[in-house]
Amino acid sequence: MESIYLGIVLAPLIGAAVTGLFCLKLPRATVHWIAIIGVGCSFLLSLVVLTEQMGEGAETYNRTVYTWMVSDGIRMEIGFLVDRLTAVMITVVSFVSLMVHIYTIGYMEDDPGYNRFFSYISLFTFAMLTLVMANNFLQLFFGWEAVGLVSYLLIGFWYKRPTAIYANLKAFLVNRVGDLGFLLGIAAIAMYFGSLDYADVFNAAEDMAMMQVEIVEGSSWSLLTLICVLLFIGAMGKSAQVPLHVWLPDSMEGPTPISALIHAATMVTAGIFMVARMSPLFEYSETALSVVLVIGAITAFFMGLLGIVQNDIKRVVAYSTLSQLGYMAVALGASAYSAAIFHLMTHAFFKALLFLAAGSVIIALHHEQDMRRMGGLRRHMPITWITSLVGSLALIGTPFFSGFYSKDGIIEAVKLSDTPGAGIAYAAVLVGVFVTALYSFRMYFLVFHGNERMDEHTREHVRETRPVVTIPLILLAVPSVLIGYYTVGPMLFEGFLGDAIFVRKEHDVLSHLGQDFHGALGFALHAIATLPFWLAAAGVATAWYLYCYRPELPNEIAERLRPIHTLLANKYYFDRFNDVVFAGGGRLVGSLLWRWADAAVIDGILVNGSVRIVGWASGIVRLVQTGHLYFYAFFMIIGLLLGLTWFLGPEVWNLLIG
C-alpha cells in the first residue's frame, strides 16, 4: 500500500513541479492535462484507499517514510497515517480539487497566468494531502504552512491588483499569528511527551491528563489544556475563527476556483480536521473543549450576520463559510467530532458548488461581482441557476439535502452537550439557522430572480457558461444532494471513523443521539416537526419578502437601524483595529526604535560619542605637542622635579625634621 500512499501525495507534486518549472514554455493544453492527470491519479488512488478502509477490519497504516532529523533524542519524521478519517479527507480533497482543476480550464481561459495557476493548485493539493496524511506533528506543521504559502500565492495571483497583494499579505500574517500558537503547542508536546509522533502522544495522553504546569508563578494549568488551547489557536488562524477570521473575506481577491477549493472546501477546514485528529488530547481538557465551543458559536452567529449586508456575491459566500466553520468548531467543542467531520465533508461539496456557481455567474457577467447589478439570471443560465438552488438548499439545511443531516446532527449534539458554554452555543447555532437561510436566499433571489439590473450591453451577452464550467457544477450538485442521506448513519452513529476519533463516555453525545436514530428517512421526516426547520423556512420566507416581494424594504430597514447596519458594514471594526493597532503600531514602534534608539542613542551618543571623546582627549594632549624645544625642556625639568620629590621627598623630609 505504501506506493499507493506515496502516489497520492507525489502525483500532484510532480504535476505542480513540471507545470511550474516550465510554465513559461509549455503550451496551455499540455499544462492543464499534466495537472489534471496528476490530481486525477490522486483521486483514483484515494478511492482505492477509501474502499480498502471501508472494508471490515481494515487496518490502520502508520509508517515512516524517512527521518527528517534526530535531535536531542526526538525523532522527527515524515510518514503516513492512513485510517478512515484520512481516507475520507483525501477523497474529499482530491475530488473537489479535480473538479476545480477542470472548471479552471473554463474560468481562467483568458488569463495570462493560466499555466502558473495550474501549478499552484496542484501544489496546493499536494500540501493539503500531506497535511491530512501526516502521522506526526512535524509533518502536520509542514502541510499547515505549505497550504498557507499556496494560499498566499493564490490570493495574490492577480498581482497587479493592490487589493490582492494587500489581502495575501494580510492572510499570511494573520495565519502566522495562529501558527505561533500552533508551534508553541507542538513545542509543549515535544517537551512533555518527548515525541512528535501521533501514536506515541495519543497513547500517553491519559497519563498526562493530571499533569499541571506553571505558566506564571503560582498559577498552574493542566498541561493538556495548555497544549490544546495552543493548538486551537493555530486552528483559529487556518479555519478563520473569531478574532483571526479577518483574512478570509479579503482572500476573495483570488480567482474564484481558489475561493472554492482553498477558502471554502479544503484548506480552511484544516483546523477542524486537526482538532478532530487530536481528539485523544482534547477529550482530556474540558476547558479547551469549552474554548472551542464558545469561539465556534461566536463565529457561527456573528459572521453569519455579516453575510446579510454584503453586496459582493463572493463575500456573501465567504461569510457563509466563516459561519459554517463556526458550526464545525461548535461540533468539536461538543465532542461531536464525527459530526464536525461530516459537516466538513458535506460543506466541502455544497460550498465548492456555491462558489463555482458564483464564479459561473461572474464570468457570464464579465467579471461583475456586485449583486446589485445582477438579477433575473435564471432565465439565461438554467444550469447555474438550478445547481445554485441545490447548493443553497443544502446550505440552509433543507431536509434530505446533505447539509441538513450534518447541520442537524451538530445542533442536536450541542443540545445534549454538557460542555460549559453549550447553552449559549445551542442558542447561537439555532438562531444561526435563520440567519443562514436569510443571507443564502437573499443572494439567491438577488442573483437569479427579480429585475435584470445589469447594463444593456451585458444583458445582451449573458448566456450559460461552457460545459467545462457547468459539468463540475453538476458533478458537485450530486453529492450536495445525496451524500448526506447515504452517509449520515455510518458517519454519525455507526462509528465509521472508528479509532481515528476518541470520545470519552461522558462526552459521547452522538451515541446518545444515535439511540433515537432510525435511518436517514426518519431523521429527515422527524426534523420537519422541529424548530430548525421552521427557522430555516422563516429565513427563506423573509428573504423572499424582502428581496422579491418588497425590494424597496431592505434600504428602509437599513436606514431605520443605521447604527447596527454601520457596525455590520464595517465588520465590527476588526480590520480597522488591526490596521491601526498592529500594523500601524508595529511600524511606529519600529520607526521609534530605529530613529531614536539605534540612530540617536547607540550611533549618535555611544559610537560617534566615543569617537568624539577620543577626539576631544587627543585634542587636549595635542596642545602639549607644540614642537618647541624649550617647551619640552621645561616639561622635562618639571617632570624631573616631580619625580625627585616623589622618590626622594620622604627622605628629604625626614632629614629636615630629624
Partner: protein, 504 residues
C-alpha cells in the same frame, strides 16, 4: 588515500596562494583573472568535499588534525583540526566563495584581479579561523580576515564607504583586543596555546567572568548582537554585493562559532551566570530588530537588520542550555538549542547570501537599493521574482526551507526553559514574515512602478546559475536536514556534557 592529505592546509593555502597568483598574474588580463579565480575557488570547494565524506560523525574529537611547531620558543603550534562545529562552516565558506566569484563576473569592471584576489585570500583566512586549534593561529586568522573585507568595502564600496569601513574596523578591533588579553592570560595558566587545552583549564569564578566578558565583547560584535550591531547595516549598505554576501554568510558566523569554540567550553560557569544577559539581548535582537527591519526603506539595510534578528536565534540557542538546566534541573532540550543555533548559522549563510545576491541583481540593473524605486518586478522579471519569493519565504522561516529548521529547533528548546522565551522568540514567525513579505509586496508585486522597471531584463544564465544552486540547497536542507544535523550531533552532545560540569 585522499583523506590522508593535509586537506585543511590545502583548503587554507590554496585560495591564499592562488589569490596572490591572481593578484600578480591578472593585472593585465581580466578574463584570465576571472577564470583563474573561478578555477581556484571551485578547486578549493572540491578539496573540502573529502573532509565531508571522510568525517567520522560518531566522535566529538578533532579530526583531520595537523600539528607542527611554529614558534617553538613561545609554544605556538600550527595546529589545525575540525569537529562538528567547524566542518559545516568551512564547507559554507568554500561554497559561498564560488558563488561570490561567479556573482562578480561581469559586474566588477574596476580592478578585477584585486577584487577576485581579495575574496580568495579572505576565503583562506576564514577557513583558517574555523580550522585553527591553536589560539595564536586563531587570533592571527581572526584579525587578518578583517583586512580583505576592509579593502573590499573601501575600494569597491558605495559613497559612504570610508565611514562604514572605519566603523566596521573599529567595532570589531576593539572587541578582539580584549580577547587577545584573555588568550594570553590563559596561555600563562595552561602553559599551552591549544584551544582544546583551554577547554580543560580550571578557572576560578572571577577569572571566568573576566575572560567570558572579553570573549563576549569580541564575538558579540561579530554576530552582531544588540547593542553593538550598528556597524552591520552601514557596512552592508556600502559593501559591493560580494562583500555583503561574505559578510552575512561567513563573517557573522565567526561570532557564533567563537561562542561554541571558546566562551561556552572555557568559561561555562561565567556563561551560566550571565546567560540571562545573552538570552535577553538575543530576544531583543529578535523583536526590537525585527521591528526596526519593518521600517527600512533601503533593501540592503532591511536584509542587514533581518540578519541581526536571525542571528539572535543563534546566540539564544547557544545559551538556552544554562537556563534549561537552571529551570528544570535537566539537560533535555539543551542539545536542540545548540544544534538549532548551528543549523540557523548555516541556513542563514545560504539565505542571506541569496537575498544579497538578489538585491545585487536588482542593483546592477537600476542602481538603486531603495524600495520605492521598485515595484511590479514580476511583470518584467518573472524568473527572478520566483527566486526572490522563494528566498524571502525561506527568510520568513517557511517549513520546507532551511530557514525553518534552526528556528524550529531553537523554539522547541526555548520551551524547555520557559514558555515565555519560546513565545518571544516565536514572534519572529510574525515579524519575520511581516518585514520580508512586505518587501516582496512592494518590490515584486504590483503594477510596473516606473520606466526603469518596465525596461528590465530577466536574469541571465549566470545569475540563474547561482540563484538556482542556492535555491536547491535551501530547499534541500529544509526537506532533509538530517545530513547536516548528524555531522554536528556528537560535538554538540559533547559540548552539552562538558559545560554542564562546573569548573569551580
Amino acid at each position: 588515500m585522499i583523506s590522508d592529505w593535509p586537506l585543511l592546509s590545502l583548503t587554507i593555502w590554496l585560495p591564499i596562494l592562488g589569490g596572490s597568483a591572481v593578484l600578480f598574474a591578472g593585472e593585465t588580463n581580466r578574463e584570465g583573472a576571472r577564470n583563474l579565480a573561478l578555477a581556484i575557488s571551485v578547486l578549493t570547494f572540491l578539496v573540502c568535499l573529502p573532509l565531508w565524506s571522510g568525517f567520522d560523525t560518531g566522535t566529538a574529537t578533532m579530526q583531520f588534525q595537523e600539528r607542527y611547531p611554529w614558534m617553538s620558543t613561545l609554544g605556538v603550534y600550527y595546529h589545525l583540526g575540525v569537529d562538528g562545529f567547524s566542518l559545516p562552516l568551512i564547507l559554507l565558506t568554500t561554497f559561498t566563495t564560488v558563488l561570490v566569484v561567479i556573482a562578480g563576473w561581469e559586474v566588477i569592471q574596476y580592478k578585477v584581479a584585486q577584487y577576485m584576489a581579495a575574496f580568495l585570500i579572505m576565503e583562506g583566512l576564514m577557513v583558517g579561523v574555523f580550522a585553527a586549534l591553536d589560539a595564536v593561529l586563531f587570533y592571527v586568522f581572526f584579525e587578518a580576515m578583517l583586512i580583505p573585507m576592509f579593502l573590499v568595502i573601501g575600494i569597491w564600496g558605495g559613497p559612504r564607504r570610508i565611514y562604514a569601513t572605519l566603523k566596521f574596523f573599529l567595532y570589531t578591533f576593539v572587541g578582539s583586543v580584549l580577547m587577545l588579553v584573555a588568550l594570553v592570560y590563559m596561555y600563562f595558566q595552561a602553559d599551552s596555546w591549544s584551544i582544546v587545552d583551554f577547554h580543560h583549564l580550571r578557572l576560578g569564578y572571577q577569572e571566568q567572568i573576566l575572560i567570558f566578558l572579553a570573549f563576549f565583547l569580541a564575538f558579540a560584535v561579530k554576530v552582531p548582537m544588540w547593542p553593538v550591531h550598528t556597524w552591520l547595516p552601514d557596512a552592508h549598505v556600502e559593501a559591493p554585493t560580494g562583500g555583503s554576501v561574505i559578510l552575512a554568510a561567513i563573517t557573522l558566523k565567526v561570532g557564533g562559532y567563537g561562542f561554541v569554540r571558546f566562551a561556552l567550553p572555557i568559561t561555562p560557569d561565567a556563561a551560566g551566570a550571565l546567560s540571562w544577559l545573552v538570552i535577553s539581548l538575543s530576544l531583543i535582537a529578535v523583536i526590537y530588530i525585527g521591528l526596526v527591519a519593518l521600517v527600512q526603506e533601503d533593501m540592503k539595510k532591511l536584509i542587514a537588520y533581518s540578519s541581526i534578528a536571525h542571528m539572535g536565534f543563534v546566540t539564544l540557542g547557544f545559551f538556552l542550555v544554562f537556563s534549561i538546566h537552571e529551570n528544570t534541573g535537566e539537560l533535555a532540550g539543551a542539545a536542540l538549542g545548540i544544534e538549532g543555533g548551528m543549523v540557523q548559522m548555516i541556513s542563514h549563510g545560504f539565505i542571506s547570501g541569496a537575498l544579497f545576491l538578489c538585491v545585487g541583481v536588482m542593483y546592477d540593473r537600476l542602481h538603486s537599493r531603495q524600495i520605492k524605486d521598485y515595484g511590479g518586478l514580476v511583470n518584467t522579471m518573472p524568473v527572478f521574482a520566483a527566486f526572490m519569493v522563494l528566498f524571502c519565504m525561506a527568510n520568513a522561516g517557511l517549513p520546507g526551507t532551511s530557514g525553518f529548521v534552526g528556528e524550529f529547533m531553537v523554539i522547541l528548546s526555548g520551551f524547555h526553559s520557559s514558555i515565555w522565551i519560546a513565545l518571544l522568540a516565536g514572534l519572529t514567525l510574525i515579524l519575520g514574515a511581516a518585514y520580508t513579505l512586505w518587501l516582496v509586496k512592494r518590490v515584486i508585486f504590483g503594477e510596473v512602478a516606473n520606466d526603469g522597471v518596465a525596461a528590465l531584463e530577466d536574469i541571465n544564465t549566470r545569475e540563474a546559475l547561482f540563484l538556482g544552486v542556492l535555491a536547491a540547497v535551501v530547499l534541500g536542507l529544509g526537506v532533509w536536514p538530517d545530513p547536516l544535523v548528524s555531522v554536528m550531533h556528537e560535538s554538540v552532545e559533547n559540548l552539552v556534557q562538558h559545560i554542564s560540569v562546573s569548573k569551580l
